[in-house]
Symmetry: C2
C-alpha cells in the first residue's frame, strides 16, 4: 500500500527526488506540507488547497483530540471526508504539542499526563492512545508517540527521553494494526550526536515505511541542526522517505534537502501571512511598510499565484492594515504557492543534476531569517 | 451612459424587473448589493465575487476617506482597478456613517464637522467634499450627501434635516460633473409621511438617474417602514431605479420589492456569517448549536453554493467554534449566495407574473427575524 521510489539523485549532495505512494495518492518528494492544525490550513479550504496543488497536508492530533475529539471525526467518516480533502494527510502524534505544555504535564514511562489548554481538564496520552486517536482520524501517515525533550536538555536527560521514545515506538508499532496508515518513527536525541546516531540506528531497524527526525529547529541553532543531519544522514535507510519535522524556511529547505531530507512541514508560510508578512523578491517582507502604500507591483515579481496575478501591494497593504480577513487569506495563498513553486524548482534541479548550482544561485540572492 | 429599462411588471403589486446600464455593466433589478465597507466584502476577494455572480457591490465613502484616503485610491487608478473588480460599484455619501458618530459631530448648514473614529482627528464633510471624494473613488453610482436624522427625531427636527438634505443635494448636483458616475439623491423625512411625500417630490423633480430612500430600517419598526414605502411609492419616478438603503432580510426583500423597490444593500449576510449564523432551511440558524455537531447535512437543503456542495454542518461548526477564518468565509459565501438566488427567483416570479404567489409561499415557510 505504501511505496517509496527514488527517481533521481544529485551527484554532489544527498539530495534526491522520489515518490511516496499512499492510499490517497502519490506524493512527489522533496515535498512541503502546509500545516492544517485544526483540520484546516488557516484561511483556506480544501478547494483552495487543490487549486494550489497541495499534495499532502498535516493535521494536529493534539488539537483535534481536545476538540472536537477523534470520535466525532471518526463518526463523520474520518479527516479526509470531513475536510473534503481527498489527497494524503499526515497527523503528528501529539507529542510535540503535549510536551510544549511544560509546567502542565507529568511524564512517566507509561505516558504523559497533561492539562488541556482549553479547559484545564486532565488527559493521559500513551503510545497506544496516540495510535488509537490517529487510527480514528484516519490520516495516510501517522507518527509514533515521542518525547520531544527541550533543546537545552543535558545529555543525561536527553538519553532518558530518547530511550523512552524508543520504548514507546515499539509499543506504537505493536498497537497499530491499520495497514492503510503508514507509521513513521521519530528519531530523537536533542543535540547529542552519539544519541542521534543511536536513535537513528534504532529507528532504522524497525523497517517502517518512512522515518522522521524530530526535536530539531527548536532553538538549537541552524549550524547545530545541519551538523546533526550530516551526522545521521549516512545512517538513514535510503529507500524510505526522510521527514524533517517542523522545518521550512526557504534557506532550510535547500540546506536540509542537500543533507538527504525529503519531507518538510512548517507553520511559517501561514503564520507569516497572518502577521502581514510575505515572501518578497529576495526576502520575507512586511506589507505594512510605508513603501508599499502606493506600490502597484505584485508581492513578488513574476509570481504566478492568484494573489500576485490579481492584486497590488498597495491594495493588499490596505487589507492588512484594516485587519481584513481577505488580506490574510491572499497572503497565505501567496506564501504557500511560493514554497510549492520553490520545491518544484528544487525537484527539477535535482533531476537535471543542477541542484548545487540552483541552491547557490538562490541563496546568494535570498536574505534569510537567521535564528 | 446610464439607462434604466423596465422589462416586466407584477399585475398585483408594484414589483417590477428591469436593467440599469452603467459604465461597468448592466445590473438586473431587483438587485442585492453586498457591502464592501473598506473596499472588500469581508472575507471575500474580487474573484470570489465574480464566482458568486455579484452584479454590483457597495463601498463606504467615510471609511475609505478616513483610511487610506481617496487620493491614494485615485492614484492607484480608482476603486475598480485597485480592488480588481470590474463590475459596477456604488459608494454611499458618507452621511450615514458620519451621522452615526453622534456625540462627535457638529452639524451646520454648510456641512458636518466630526472626529474620525480612528484617531479622533477633526474632519469637515460638505456636499462638495462628499462629491469630490466619490469622484476620486470612481464608483459607477454615487450618493448625494444627506442628513440621516435618528428614527426618534421630532417632526420639527426631521423637517430641518430634510430641508438641509434638499439644500445639500442641489449643491451635490451642481458640483458633480463626472458623467461616468450616476448621482442618486436620498429621500429623507424620518417617519413623518408628509415630510416623506415632500422629500420624494423634491428629489423626483431633480431628474437624476436613480433615486434612493434613506433613513429607514434604523429602528422605526417594520410596519412603519412598509407604510412609508406605500405612501411614497406612487410618487417615485417609474422610469428610475428605486434604491432602498440598508435593507436586506429575506422577508424585507419580498415586502419592499412588492412596494416598488429595485435596489438593496445590507451588511446582514456578511455580518451574520462572522457571528456563525447562516440562512438555513427556513430561518437564520446558529452553527454552534449542538444539534449541528454530528450533522452531515449542508447548511441548507438543495443549496448549490460552493460551501453546501463541499462541506457538512459538522465540519463548518468545528471551524466556527475554533474561530477559523475559513469558517467565516465559507458561511459568507453561503449567505450571499442564498440572497442572490432568492433575488433571482424573485425576478423570475415577477417575469412570470407569479410574484405574489411566490412571496406568500416563501414567507409562509420562512421564520423571519422580527425587529
Amino acid at each position: 500500500m505504501f511505496k517509496f521510489e527514488i527517481s533521481s539523485k544529485c551527484s554532489k549532495t544527498l539530495a534526491r527526488t522520489g515518490s511516496f505512494t499512499t492510499p490517497h495518492g502519490v506524493i512527489k518528494t522533496p515535498t512541503f506540507m502546509p500545516v492544517g492544525t485544526k483540520a484546516t490550513v488557516k484561511t483556506l479550504d480544501s478547494k483552495d488547497l487543490n487549486d494550489l496543488n497541495a499534495e499532502i497536508i498535516l493535521a494536529n492530533t493534539y488539537h483535534l483530540a481536545m476538540r472536537p475529539g477523534e470520535d466525532l471525526i471518526k463518526k463523520m467518516g474520518g479527516l479526509h471526508k470531513w475536510m473534503n480533502f481527498n489527497k494524503p494527510i499526515l497527523t503528528d502524534s501529539g507529542g510535540f504539542q503535549v510536551f510544549s505544555l511544560k509546567d502542565k504535564l507529568k511524564i512517566t514511562d507509561d505516558g504523559v499526563e497533561f492539562q488541556s489548554h482549553l479547559d484545564g481538564n486532565k488527559h493521559f496520552f500513551t503510545p497506544e492512545k496516540a495510535m488509537e486517536i490517529q487510527n480514528k482520524l484516519g490520516a495516510d501517515i501517522i507518527m509514533a508517540f515521542d518525547e520531544c525533550a527541550p533543546a537545552d536538555s543535558d545529555q543525561s536527560y536527553a538519553k532518558k527521553a530518547m530511550e523512552r521514545t524508543h520504548d514507546w515506538v515499539l509499543r506504537c508499532k505493536k498497537f497499530h494494526k491499520n495497514e492503510s496508515q503508514a507509521l513513521f518513527p521519530i528519531i530523537q536525541g536533542v543535540i547529542y550526536k552519539d544519541l542521534r546516531v543511536e536513535s537513528t540506528k534504532f529507528m532504522t531497524e524497525l523497517d517502517l515505511p518512512g522515518i522522521a527526525i524530530g526535536g530539531l529547529s527548536v532553538g538549537e541553532g541552524k549550524k547545530t541542526m545541519y551538523e546533526i543531519l550530516e551526522t545521521i544522514a549516512p545512517l538513514l535507510p535510503e529507500n524510505k522517505p526522510h521527514y524533517l519535522m517542523g522545518v521550512g524556511t526557504p534557506e532550510d529547505l535547500f540546506e536540509c534537502i542537500s543533507r538527504g531530507m525529503d519531507m518538510f512541514d512548517c507553520v511559517l508560510p501561514t503564520r507569516l501571512a497572518r502577521h502581514g508578512s510575505f515572501y518578497g523578491d529576495n526576502q520575507v517582507e512586511h506589507l505594512k511598510n510605508l513603501k508599499n502604500r502606493d506600490n502597484e507591483n505584485p508581492l513578488r515579481k513574476d509570481c504566478t499565484c492568484e494573489t500576485c496575478q490579481n492584486f497590488t501591494r498597495s491594495y493588499l497593504r490596505h487589507l492588512i492594515i484594516e485587519n481584513e480577513i481577505t488580506g490574510l487569506r491572499l497572503l497565505t495563498i501567496h506564501n504557500i504557492y511560493f514554497l510549492f513553486e520553490l520545491i518544484k524548482k528544487i525537484r527539477k534541479s535535482i533531476k537535471e543534476n543542477q541542484f548545487p548550482h540552483f541552491k547557490k544561485e538562490f541563496l546568494n540572492n535570498w536574505i534569510g531569517m537567521e535564528k
